[in-house]
């Protein structure tokens, strides 16, 4: 038996128990409000708290003390299950998981010790303001936050357009450029209740409205040293980026799977005509299973250094975007008019699928990075 299989066996018990508990929360708390989340933009706070209590947010966070060893694959699986039902909530799970991941990888033990347990359990809800950072490091745009060293911490100014899973009492991880020092950046945790920090709801989106997404305005926000995750932002990102990208994949896997399920459900009524369509459920399922296998294998070693490893992570992330779009289109075409109803899951999933393809790293971003790697 190989190491991969052994790890799976060891983790089997707690993994299965957690996934069962997550499924129960989905059935009991999330399912009844999925349409409402989509149409009315309600943030499912109770669902998030209950998912946290079920253990959905800590299997990749051994520093939280909730688990002995890291199991990133099962964190992806939990997110995928939530996203099968509602990707707006699946996205909030990703934000939470990623916020925890920043703390897991924190160079500063103070911030880790103070926050990781409650973020891991869902008592503190958290987000990630790293889209700008990832784009800046890929040469797509400039860093939007600037920090100046002051006694005991930093004063941070600037704006982030859209950060999710936020609200009063929430925290999120982000990175700011250090003023007066070219190419130096600092990774920090931000408490949404800090003086000078404002959340603003600006635009409305075509989906994922229930994800607590706000513009973040920093007006001389004092960030004490105790909140700094890593004084060396570039090194932090280098170390943690594979995990960030891999975690995100849970959203796409879930939406793609639920789209395939929708297509398959139509078969008893429509297979005589659906057989003329491309991307039939069995074909997509085979492809998705293989992607799933690749994701789970990659997620076993999120700190692997080899550049081939990160290339594979980006490629798999790209494939997830592509299959999610195809599966959603397929679910629409297989469903026909029934999928076109305002409350139909198929049309909601179509909108969710575009998010998978457009959230950082988007398809174009991934192709740029991959092209520059070869």
């Amino acid at each position: 038996m190989n190491q991969f299989a052994r790890n799976l066996m060891d983790n089997d018990w707690s993994e299965a128990a957690m996934l069962d508990a997550v499924s129960a929360v989905i059935r009991r708390d999330l399912q009844p409000m999925t349409t409402q989340i989509d149409l009315e933009g309600i943030y499912p706070e109770r669902v998030m708290r209950n998912l946290g209590a079920a253990g959905a947010f800590y299997h990749h966070l051994p520093a939280s003390g909730h688990v002995e060893s890291m199991n990133l694959p099962v964190a992806v699986k939990a997110m995928s299950r939530v996203s099968e039902e509602c990707m707006s909530t699946g996205f909030a799970v990703w934000c939470q998981d990623t916020c925890g991941w920043y703390l897991e990888n924190a160079a500063n033990s103070m911030v880790q010790e103070q926050w990781i347990r409650t973020v891991a359990s869902g008592k503190t809800l958290g987000g990630t303001g790293m889209s700008n950072t990832m784009k800046a490091f890929a040469g797509i745009e400039r860093l939007r936050l600037q920090g100046r060293r002051v006694e005991g911490g930093y004063l941070v100014n600037g704006n982030l357009p859209w950060v999710s899973n936020l609200g009063r009492g929430h925290v999120f991880g982000t990175l700011f450029a250090l003023e007066g020092a070219s190419h130096q950046s600092v990774m920090t945790l931000v408490d949404c209740d800090m003086p000078g920090f404002t959340l603003k709801q600006m635009a409305h989106f075509t989906a994922l409205e229930g994800s607590g997404t706000y513009a973040c305005i920093f007006d001389d926000v004092f960030i004490p040293d105790a909140m700094i995750i890593d004084e060396n932002g570039a090194a932090f990102l280098h170390h943690s980026k594979a995990g960030i990208v891999l975690l995100q994949i849970g959203m796409g896997l879930g939406v793609a799977q639920s789209c395939i399920d929708i297509s398959r459900e139509t078969e008893s009524l429509l297979s005589h005509v659906n057989r003329y369509l491309d991307d039939r459920p069995d074909d997509l399922q085979n492809e998705l299973n293989e992607i799933n296998e690749a994701v789970m294998a990659l997620a076993e070693t999120p700190y692997e250094y080899a550049k081939e490893y990160f290339r594979a992570v980006l490629q798999v992330r790209l494939r997830v975007s592509e299959i999610t779009l195809r599966s959603a289109q397929s679910a629409m075409l297989h469903s026909g008019a029934k999928g076109y109803l305002r409350t139909a899951p198929a049309q909601r999933k179509l909108r969710e699928a575009y998010f998978v393809a457009m959230i950082t790293p988007s398809i174009k971003h991934l192709r740029k990075e991959l092209a520059e790697m070869s």
Binding site: M1, N2, Q3, F4, N132, E141, R142, R144, N159, P161, W162, A181, S182, H183, Q184, K200, M202, A203, A215, C216, I217, N232, A234, A235, H238, E287, E290, I291, E293, A294, A297, L298, E300, T301, E304, Y305, A306, E308, Y309, R311, A312, Q315, V316, L318, R319, E322, R367, K368, L370, A371, M373, S374
Partner: protein
């Protein structure tokens, strides 16, 4: 108002367009409000960004519009192998050599070569001599992957890293789906040792281990004279130093050992090399290591353990290679210094072979071209039903430092370091190392230029 040429501004964050002619009435900006008159407190109605996030919208595109050669997701019809396939993972010299050897001995078995990169065929030893040869990185490509595959009548998958081996079902998991094999050859190569450095630029060290890495280095070197720091004064470090310095760059070498090529050469000969390189302007910091690399104001500042600090533009690491064994370890293949193989080049799991920089033949990793060629032939013969064994011949190592040509050969292992000069000539000398039993254990020759290697062959063969 109408006579004015209104401008349009775009929000960098979300793409909202502020058209001066239309203003932003919802925020109280009347039509005709110019950018200069937008109050500082204004916020982008879509994303909340401020006035300073707007930039002038011009008709010219943000970048080159030519179709970029992007990584396309492979066609789902691409070769997925099969039980009849010999699948080779890795398109470096080792991987390509197996494909060639198979065809040379007349095998018509279906072969699929999988490369995590572009897979073009080039000579890796030439990377550290390209500047002197007046070659660009592109010039080093001897044949592109697809032409070579076609010529050898094999299938190829490029840009396809292998993520996992599944020997129980004889398949590989890749980001582009699974690939089945009958026989598997691992030619996974090695990676540069990563140093634990401090400083904000700790990750900006160039590891030059393949053509893509080299292209990135050349982009910097070709833009004008640079201060180049090379970490490690082994074979690759010295070759790069000589080559890069010859092209007009100022080179500094840092190495924890007390003389260059310390694993290969006797001290006396190494010091001769060091002198020659010194005369060329290369600065040596020996017996110390780089501890910190900071970047500010367009330049790096290197701090050594011995307290010396200096400025540099580029830092290249050549501190030794580590076999790529992660994939094998995760699969449960036996690994020692590299993937353990026997003299038939067979790993601990049947139908899986390994060679080159990633493989350890009975405890020894062979990283030079000659033995790898021989390993490839051994594998090809074993794959086609013959029983063939790799023979461990001493390897002649030529050091391509044109300033002071060197060659060395280790014939047998020994702990003794008592080298003796057996012949001295105008430009160099020949030295020998004798083991505790009085047997010749190693030979090194310097300054003989092209004759050096031939001289050594006389000795060793």
């Amino acid at each position: 108002m109408h006579s004015k040429n209104y401008e349009r501004w775009i929000c960098e964050a979300c793409g909202f367009i502020y058209d001066e002619a239309q203003g932003d009435p919802d925020s109280g900006l009347a039509p005709g409000t110019c950018y200069a008159d937008i109050p500082e407190g204004w916020e982008c109605p879509l994303c909340g960004m401020r006035k300073s996030d707007l930039r002038l919208l011009t008709d010219s595109p943000a970048g080159d519009l030519r179709k970029t050669e992007h990584i396309k997701t492979p066609d789902r019809c691409e070769c997925r192998g099969g039980a009849e396939y010999i699948v080779i993972v890795g398109a470096g010299f080792a991987g390509w050599s197996v494909a060639e050897a198979l065809r040379r001995i007349g095998s018509s078995a279906p072969v699929l070569l999988i490369s995590s990169c572009r897979g073009d065929f080039y000579s890796k030893p030439s990377l550290s001599g390209a500047l002197a040869d007046g070659k660009t990185a592109q010039d080093l490509i001897y044949e592109d992957a697809f032409s070579r595959a076609q010529r050898l009548n094999i299938q190829i998958r490029t840009d396809t890293p292998v993520i996992q081996l599944d020997p129980s079902r004889k398949r590989l998991i890749t980001s582009h789906g699974s690939i089945a094999y009958g026989k598997l050859v691992l030619a996974l190569g090695a990676h540069q040792r990563e140093l634990a450095l401090r400083g904000n630029a700790a990750h900006n060290v160039h590891a030059v281990n393949d053509l893509a890495d080299y292209m990135k280095l050349r982009q910097k070197l070709d833009s004008g004279p640079k201060l180049v720091t090379i970490l490690g004064s082994g074979l690759i470090g010295c070759e790069f130093a000589d080559d890069i310095s010859g092209a007009g760059h100022a080179v500094t070498m840092v190495d924890p050992n007390h003389w260059p090529l310390s694993r290969l050469l006797p001290e006396e000969m190494a010091i001769d090399l060091q002198k020659q390189l010194n005369d060329k302007g290369i600065v040596f910091h020996l017996g110390t290591i780089l501890t910190t690399l900071e970047y500010s104001a367009g330049r790096y500042r290197a701090v050594l353990q011995n307290g010396v600090t200096f400025e540099t533009d580029i830092v290249v690491i050549a501190a030794g290679l580590i076999p790529n064994t992660g994939l094998a370890e995760r699969t449960g293949l036996k690994v020692d210094k590299g993937i353990s193989v026997d003299l038939q080049m067979q790993s601990s799991i049947s139908d899986i072979y390994a060679l080159g920089d990633c493989a350890s033949v009975e405890g020894t990793v062979y990283s030079y071209i000659e033995p790898i060629k021989h390993q490839a032939e051994t594998i090809a013969e074993n794959l086609t039903g013959q029983r063939s064994l790799f023979s461990k011949k001493p390897t002649i190592i030529k050091v391509k430092t044109p300033t002071f040509p060197l060659a060395a050969c280790q014939i047998r292992k020994t702990e003794t370091r008592a080298w003796t000069v057996v012949e001295r000539q105008e430009h160099g000398c020949r030295m020998e190392l004798t083991d505790e039993h009085g047997e010749l254990a190693a030979v090194a020759i310097s300054g003989f230029e092209k004759l050096a290697a031939r001289e050594l062959y006389k000795y060793c063969m």
